[in-house]
Structures are given as structure tokens and as C-alpha cells.
């Protein structure tokens, strides 16, 4: 039996477990980053982490706050210009998994990170696309991580920033997307996976102590539940202690004061 843990910790651990050793993973900032770094510290030491800032094969010891922290460059196998990440790595078909977050997701795994409300007169203006449309198109597989709530799991997106399974029923495959699209959505309640025929996201697994009703109540469409629901094991002591020390190191690093020593002109 393991220690007490938070729902956030469970979500991050479950997300980390999705990654296989040796995967080449295009990492989104925030929760995806925590999951990927955690995986690389536990069961997937050969996981290759690529951030869109241009850092390839990076092994950060603390989580980056931004997608371009110095930590990512210092621990990378190589740092390349950002356009090369999009042409040679992503569009060139070198990425196994893209790991993304979003503000809204619909039943077919389409994502919105652009705007809530109308585009021209937004209720909430979100940051926008970033690299997500290209990641979701080209990475062979896509994992999504999001807190489950009716605000985020919506019946209809306000804006489709990134194409998941489109209208479902194999539309994405028929259109010849290079990558297969979102294959799992990790939430703070459990896991959703697309139905192989309809592409509709189905609740397939629950974290210990969570219920299907809870998931349905947190979803803006009538969420289907798999006949047989897997139960996800609680975080192991190893996972929890790795995650917590990662978070502690990260907090300390982000709070460390920056002091600048100005350089003078030589000679």
C-alpha cells in the first residue's frame, strides 16, 4: 500500500505510465512535461524528449516553466533551430508520441486552445495554437492530459485549434492524416480512449476511488463507459517520491533569485 497522494499526482503518474521506453516524444509544456520527465526518471530512461523550442533529447532535472528554459538546452543532446523541429522532426515523421494539453476537448478528441466565445469578440482569449496543430497531425500517436470538467470536456468546441478525430467514424483516417490522432486522454478521474469504430472517446479506466458517474458528471456530452472498466493502480512509492522530489527541485529552482553581473566591453 502506498502513501496518500493527490488527484493531480495520480493524473501525472498515470500519464507518465503511458510512455514507453525509447519513444521519441514531442512534449507540451505544463502537465505533459511533468508526465514525460517523470517517465524518463522511472521506467523509460531511454525516452527521447523533444520540446518545440528546439531541444532534442533533453533530460531536465527540474521542470521547465517555459518551453525554452535554459535547463532544457543544457541537458539536451542537441539544440536545433525551431523551424527544423517542425520540418525535419515533426513533419518529417520522426516523432512517436505528441503529448498535449488543451482548454477544451470534444468527444472526438478535437482540441481548442484558442478562444472561448466568438473569435472576434472572445469571452476568454486563450494563448492560441502554438505547435499543437502540427503535432496532432504528424506525431504517430497523441496523448492528451486534461482535468476533467464540463468546462473543458464540451459538447461542441468554441474553436477547433487542433484536429483530433474530426467528426469521428474514421474521418481522420480517410483524410490521410500521417498520425493516428489522440489514442488516450488522461484526466484526474481516469482514462478515455476513442472507440475503434466511431472514434468517440469512451471511459476505459478509473483511478482508485473514482467512479464512472463522477466522470460522466464532469463531461459535457453523454460519456460512454466501457463494459469493462480497468482500475488504475495507485502511484507506487517510487513514482510518488520521484514526482515529489521533481516538484520540490522545480519549486526551488523557479524561486531562486536571478542576479545579473553586467559584462563590460573588452579592452
Amino acid at each position: 500500500m502506498s502513501t496518500a497522494y493527490t488527484r493531480d499526482e495520480m493524473m501525472t503518474v498515470a500519464a507518465a505510465r503511458q510512455l514507453k521506453d525509447g519513444d521519441v516524444c514531442f512534449v507540451g509544456i505544463g502537465k505533459p512535461s511533468a508526465a514525460c520527465v517523470l517517465a524518463s526518471m522511472i521506467h523509460a530512461p531511454g525516452l527521447v524528449l523533444i520540446y518545440e523550442s528546439g531541444t532534442v533529447g533533453t533530460r531536465p532535472r527540474v521542470l521547465p516553466l517555459s518551453i525554452g528554459d535554459g535547463e532544457l538546452a543544457e541537458t539536451a543532446d542537441v539544440v536545433v533551430p525551431l523551424p527544423e523541429i517542425f520540418t525535419h522532426y515533426l513533419q518529417g515523421g520522426r516523432i512517436d508520441v505528441g503529448f498535449l494539453g488543451a482548454a477544451q476537448i470534444d468527444r472526438f478528441g478535437n482540441l481548442n486552445t484558442t478562444v472561448v466565445g466568438p473569435y472576434e469578440k472572445p469571452v476568454t482569449r486563450l494563448p492560441g495554437a502554438g505547435g499543437a496543430p502540427e503535432i496532432i497531425t504528424h506525431a504517430r500517436d497523441i496523448f492528451v492530459i486534461m482535468h476533467q470538467s464540463k468546462r473543458g470536456f464540451v459538447d461542441a468546441l468554441d474553436f477547433r485549434t487542433s484536429a483530433g478525430h474530426l467528426g469521428g467514424g474514421g474521418e481522420r483516417r480517410r483524410k490521410g492524416y500521417p498520425g493516428k490522432g489522440p489514442s488516450v486522454v488522461v484526466t484526474d478521474i481516469g482514462l478515455l480512449r476513442p472507440d475503434p469504430d466511431s472514434d468517440e472517446l469512451v471511459l476505459v479506466a478509473l483511478f482508485e476511488g473514482r467512479t464512472a458517474e463522477e466522470a460522466q458528471a464532469a463531461t459535457g456530452w453523454p460519456l460512454r463507459v466501457a463494459d469493462k472498466l480497468e482500475v488504475i493502480a495507485a502511484p507506487t512509492d517510487e513514482e510518488l517520491s520521484a514526482l515529489r522530489s521533481l516538484m520540490a527541485r522545480t519549486d526551488a529552482a523557479h524561486k531562486a533569485p536571478i542576479r545579473i553581473k553586467l559584462k563590460q566591453v573588452q579592452g
Binding site: I29, G70, P81, G131, T137, A163, I258
Partner: protein, 283 residues
Amino acid sequence: MPAFLSLADAIGRHVEDGMCVALEGFTHLIPFAAGHEIIRQGRKRLHLVRMTPDLIYDQMIGMGVADRLTFSWGGNPGVGSLHRLRDATERGWPNELAIFEHSHGEMAAAFAAGAAGLPHGLMKGPMDTDLPQHQEGRVASVVCPFTGQPLKAVRAVNPDVTILHAQKADRRGNVLIEGISGAVRDAAFAARAVLVTVEEIVDDLAAPMNALVLPHFVVTAISHVPGGAYPSYAQGCYGRDNSFYVGWDAVARERETFLAWMQEHCISKPDHRAHLESLGVLA
């Protein structure tokens, strides 16, 4: 060979009202000092271009220097919204701001095409998103003449001026950039004029053979502005001040606190050194 100018002179001579200006640097090497100088000199109606607007564009937009923004991700990384950018797009304060939005891949293609003298770049799809409805004249469908495959054409971006921060320049004006470079190389080659602020001016760059060096004939002016990327960072010189980014959220949330901060730390200060002193970040 580039001119070696004070930052005030470089901005004064090369950045004019109404110009298309890109301050690039992807999280790393963001030219904050140059952005502040543009604010101090009261430029108006700029068309700002940046993949990630970041705090420097939040500040510039909040101070009313821009009426257009081309970008692909407009947030405070790992923190939340850019409140001044949102106030401009959602409520037109301090002025209306037209936004020309892209994905990162599109912006990279637009800069790369601009750098290569091409009118557009190419991307492979499909990418069924709602963005193209808002990209008229900037994104179009084309067909490969060999395979019949549909492709996306992205119109080139060619700023009037690209402004960068870098670790070093040598006395001939060659510029060395180490670490995360984002789209800076392409933003520089795409521009008609290139202004660079640097941490150091040295006799010898001591660059590795295959480093990222902007040769002097691509650079218009160089200004010695140590600390010029703060609160962004300069690899090998100083780290990113993540706590500043976190703290900015509260400063920028309301117009009054924002204006007061800008007055105290930017407008009333003669230069970047005084700005850094006012923030208490000098060693």
C-alpha cells in the same frame, strides 16, 4: 559592417512608426531592453511580429505602440494569460489591436520563406482547424505538380526590422548566438534591417565551427546592452527569472498597476541599466 550604436540611437534611427517589427527569441534571448526603448521613444502603430508575444509584447501592446500583431502563441508561459494582450484584443485598450494568428509551424514556415527570399513556404497537411477562416491572404491551398497532393502555402513574413538579443558580437559585427534560438536566424535573414543587442563585445567570438553566427553583413546595428534579455535569459550569462514571469501576472492584470509599473520601471528610467537597478536584480 554594422554600426555600433547606443540602443537609443539604434531604435531612433531604424524603427519608425507604422513599421513591421519582429523582436524574436524563443523564451531565450528575448530583447526586452530594445522593447523598452521602443516604448520610451513612443513609437506608434507598429505591426509587431513574434511567435510567442511573451511579456515584452504584453508591455509594448499595453503601452500602445502597436496596432497589429502577428503571432502563434500568446501566453505567459507556465503562468497564464497575457492580460494586456487580452485587454487589447477583447476590449480595445489602449487601442484596437488587429491580430494575425498562426500556428508555430506556420510562423516558422513564414519566417523561413522570408529568409529564403520566397513569397511563401510549404507545409504538409491535412490540418482541419478553424484557423484558416481568419487567415485570408496569409494561408492558401496549393497542389503538388508532381504528386497531386494538397499542400498548405503560408505567405512569407519579411519584417522591416528584426531585433534580437545575443551573447556576443565581435568588433567586425559578427554575432554569436548560443542555446535555444527559436526562429531568430530566419527572422534576421527575412528582415530588411537587423538590430542586435549583446551581452558582450569581444575581439574573438571563439565560436565553434558550426555555431549559429549571424555574419556582419546581415546585421545593421549592434548595441552593447548587458542584461538586455532580462527577465528572459542569456545562456551562459544569466538565467530566466521565472519568479518575474510569475509575478507579472499580478502587475499586468489591472490597467492601473500595469501603468504604474511601466512608469516606475521603464518610462522614468533613462536606460536598461537603470531599469535593472530599479528591479534590484544587478549583482
